[in-house]
Amino acid sequence: MIPLSWYLILSALLFCVGTFGVLARRNAVGILMGIELMLNAVNLNLVAFWRYLTPGLIAGQVFTLIVFAVAASEASVGLALIISIYRRRSTVVADEINLMKW
């Protein structure tokens, strides 16, 4: 049988890869992809816990569904933002979008 910890470890690994992507990629769309990875890791975590600890409680799946919806909206708005920023600043490099400072 597959212990729960395997799923959790996997999900942790995926999450950290996603974190690395968010923190290290220059391109804003690349960052967005990293975020998607992170969200997926979270979903995996949720479902694993649901399956192993409380399979009768449907809240686990509902939570995951909501996360889906949020991820979708966030992806679309994020892309819209990137396009809008590009129009203003002519760049999609995250490092160059640095006006929110002193």
Partner: protein, 177 residues
């Protein structure tokens, strides 16, 4: 080593590999395609976890909508938003260290709880892996109707917002509002 375990290990490995490729590919399109692979791997894992419906939703929404959206966005604006230059920003090493430390922490946390290592999956109460229950729960006033409706409002807002933000500047001013 049972079959399931092997399947799990392979799928897990593929997902991880694809994830690494997502963050490491210099070309965005490649990264997007690797993302699709990673998402697919996660869908398989959902199946392994008896969350069939979620696996389907994963494929349909994530791969079919979000990943496609990303590819559309990348493809349609490729000439305009072609990215040149290094893939990672100058302080990628810091990110790596942070991520590794985070990983270490998480792993330590997980391994600390002995219950996680031993638990096998408990018996599933329903044969359809809770699908009808899920459906009922989402529209039941006493259960998860509210989060469901809120989520739909959120989607609506995101929809409108995305349109508003992405509109071209002169059109936005002409239209006024």
């Amino acid at each position: 080593m049972t079959v399931l375990q092997i399947v799990f290990l392979v799928t897990g490995f593929v997902t991880l590999l694809a994830g690494v490729m997502v963050v490491a590919s210099p070309k965005l399109v490649h990264a997007a395609l690797w993302l699709i692979v990673s998402l697919a791997g996660v869908a398989v894992l959902f199946v392994l976890l008896n969350a069939n419906f979620l696996a389907v939703v994963q494929v349909v929404v994530y791969i079919g909508a979000i990943a496609i959206l990303i590819i559309f966005a990348v493809m349609l604006t490729r000439r305009v938003m072609a990215d040149t230059g290094p893939t990672h920003n100058p302080s990628w090493w810091l990110a790596l260290i942070s991520a590794l430390v985070l990983l270490g922490g998480l792993l330590a946390l997980i391994l600390q709880v002995p219950a996680f290592a031993q638990a096998g999956p408990t018996a599933q109460p329903a044969a359809d892996s809770g699908l009808s229950d899920l459906g009922t729960a989402l529209v039941d006033v006493n259960r998860f109707l509210l989060p469901f409706e809120v989520a739909s409002v959120l989607l609506l807002a995101a929809l409108i917002g995305a349109m508003a933000i992405a509109r071209p500047a002169d059109a936005a001013e002409e239209g006024g509002e």
